[in-house]
Amino acid sequence: MTCLLATTGLDITYGKVFACRDISIDVAEGEIVTLIGANGAGKSTTLRAIAGVIKPRSGVILFEGRDITALPSHERNRLGIALVPEGRHVFPHLTVRENLELGGFKYRKDHVRVRRLVEAMFATFTRLRERAGQKAGTLSGGEQQMLVLGRAMMSEPRLLCLDEPSLGLAPLVVRDIFRTIGSINAGGTSVLLVEQNARYALKTASRGYVLQTGSITASGPCALLRADIRVQEAYLGRRTSDGIINNVRPKSE
Amino acid sequence: MGRQRFWGRSLARSRKLRFLLAVVVIGLLPLAFTGSYWRTNLIVCAINVLLAIGLDFVLGYAGQLNLGQSAFFGIGAYASTLLVIKLGVPFWAAFALGTLGAGAAGALLSIFAVRLRGHYLAIASLGFAVITYQVLLNWISLTQGPLGIYAIAPPPTIALRWLGRIPFTDLANLFYLTAGLTLVVYVLLDRMLRSPIGETLTAIREDEISAASLGINASRWKVFAFAVSSAVAGAAGCFYAPFVGTLVPDAFFVTESFTILAMVIVGGTGTLIGPAVGAILLTLLPELLRSIGDLRLILYGASITLVVLFMPGGLMQAWRLLRSRLYLGAEVP
């Protein structure tokens, strides 16, 4: 499998404070790779650096063999990386349809293509079609998540980055979202998934990295990670010796 | 105030010595400049320094852009003058009332806008400046409009036991009084800024949200800073009127606000000495270069833009850069 995305030695800082140290991850074509970890571990920061929203202090990001470390986010979109940001970030005063259209901005000269893509999104996300003319800010959380997922897919990305898609959503909705992620991947798009809900993440992805306070502490195929006791205790909620089940809450570091 | 730079670090470190030096310089200036032309300029300088440090208190420390200084300047001038002329209030009482009035106006104005972004307060203060000018111009029954109020008496002669009688018809004495007031205000503001008040204001300027998490009520402090700034401008106005003898609304046109802003920006926001230097420079330079008289305002405008773009800390930043190059490894005060 060819390597689609590879980061080497990424150091990301906010001012002088290190958020991430020496992050080296890779995503091969067709894979779903996940980054799991507690709040503040640096998962979102890593993803935002890969999408081009923040600049790493040092390190290299290669996409399809090409060094994109210095490229701004809008250029990375044109190359084929799409990010669904944390908190969804629909354009609240634009309609559902307009949100989708903007996702296909890179095809703006080709109106036919954009229209075709919008139709395809409506076919996949049928609830959105009902709300096509509604202002995106009035949608429910789950509908907004569908919308931003569709919006990201409008640019027909090679790599889809998802930042905490399950955040603030009801369990049934989360199940739908992950099912959709799976079918997107089946359609040929590679996925880099950042999730706090480790259970779903490790179930959906094939490979994973565990981040703790800005560094990678474990990685490997998800099957192995799922079986790892440290991961289980920290993120998956396993019965500890005193019989307390804690779900998706990591032990204090 | 320029001589101290050549006297080495030891002097620069001592604030008390600097203060004494300032007093000495102020004392000597009228002796060095005896013509009424230059003495007049010195008084204008002192008034401009006062206006500039007042503006910087709210701009450089609290981070709020007050474009209404011309209005508060005018309010102080007209209020105190009218109190003296129409109500017979003694000069110093009128001075106090004029200053307080300007401060109150500033507080009232800023209350509306401080919870919002800085742009709103800037625009509201600009609007206030325009309105005040219009009121001064059009409320003829009160202000005599464009004709102005003339024959305004200078401050009443002070009789002190050990100094004798000090008439303020003498420009030198008037300069001492004005410069003295400026110095007093400077010291007051300086003390305020070195106290926890200054830290609070700086905290608000740097990061309002974090300041709020520390329990700082940013809005209240912004109103406070704005009120102080307006009061200082009002005080300057109270002295401007008897100095100039005739009050016309045109002296308080909006352009005045921009002139003061130029002095603060060129001198360097965020310090008190910066605007003072800027005021002195921008007051005296056009006088020295008489030929550029008409271009004065264009230069003010250019200086604002260029300083903001290339040396936002103004002359003080340039000075610090120069000093760090001259004394490599010198301590930062």
């Binding site: 640019s155 | 972004r117 742009h119 509201a124 219009q134 352009t255 264009i298 604002i304």
Partner: protein, 293 residues
């Protein structure tokens, strides 16, 4: 009586539509960049003088004057963004660009003063003296021209924002700049586009204003406070609100001139501005939008 009210109503709409043209530029820029170009009104003045020069010195038609003023405005907008707003982006105090443009405004005004003098210029167009009378109402063709050109421009702008990709991208950048970048939209290009459009509108507004206002280098200042007030009353970044507020201020101006005193106009508008800030800072007249307050 109704005749007077109607007449002033018409006058108010005429002057109001001019104010809308000027204020729209300000609100567009604020919407997309959360900044104010203080020199905006001076672009209006320059537009007026440009149109004057084109018609009186070059002998071209008034429409040519309007077109050139539009172009001059566009170039100035490009310049101001390239030299001031772009370099100062996200650097330090958010008020720095405003201060820098205050400097530009002072320079422009006084440069014009030095070149053109303080005496008002009589900007006559072939249309200022053509009068239409209807019933008891009085309208110059210039007035009609103003309303027509303003309305067409505003409609075009509205259409652009609502129906074209670029227009929607512009609205997206205004709502969420970072996310817009994720869509492949280059925010810098769109900010520049906004400046060009906004300043072109200002220049054109000046060309239309020239024959109607007192044309001196300070013509801009008389408009700018009202323009700011309109933008605040209508809501920063809110186009519908700006249009409504602009017409409202125009009507206030004409009715205050007729029934009270022209000197009171600024005071009434300013009072309205304070009211907005006190009661509803997101804008008095249109739907509530929580952005950037």
């Amino acid at each position: 009586m109704t005749g007077i009210v109607l007449q002033q109503g018409i006058n108010g709409i005429v002057i109001g539509s001019l104010y809308v043209l000027v204020a729209l530029g300000l609100t567009l820029i604020y919407g997309v960049l959360v900044q104010i170009n203080f020199a905006h009104a001076d672009i209006v003045t320059l537009g007026a003088f440009t149109a004057y020069a084109v018609t009186h010195f070059l002998g071209q038609s008034y429409f040519a004057g309007i077109a050139v003023a539009l172009a001059v405005g566009a170039v100035l907008g490009w310049l101001v963004n390239a030299t001031i707003f772009s370099p100062l982006r996200d650097r330090g105090n958010e008020l720095l660009p405003l201060i820098a443009t205050i400097g530009v405004s002072i320079m422009l005004q006084n440069a014009m003063l030095a070149l053109l003098g303080p005496i008002p210029y009589a900007f006559e167009t072939p249309y200022s003296n053509l009068v239409i009378r209807y019933g008891g109402l009085f309208l110059t063709v210039q007035n009609v021209l103003i309303v027509v050109v303003s309305s067409v421009s505003i409609a075009l702008l509205y259409g652009f924002m609502k129906f074209t990709f670029l227009g929607k991208a512009l609205r997206a950048v205004a709502q969420d700049r970072e996310t817009a970048g994720l869509m492949g939209i280059n925010p810098n290009h769109l900010i520049m586009l906004t400046f060009v459009i906004a300043s072109a509108l200002a220049g054109m507004g000046g060309a239309l204003l020239g024959p109607v206002l007192v044309l001196t280098p300070f013509a801009g200042t008389s408009v700018i406070v009202k323009a700011f007030a309109i933008v605040i009353i209508g809501g920063f970044g809110n186009i519908e609100g700006t249009i409504l507020a602009g017409l409202l201020v125009g009507l206030i101006e004409s009715f205050t001139t007729q029934f009270l005193d022209p000197g009171l106009i600024d005071i009434v508008v300013f009072a309205l501005l304070l009211l907005t800030l006190a009661v509803r800072p997101t804008g008095l007249v249109a739907e509530k939008r929580e952005e950037n307050v």
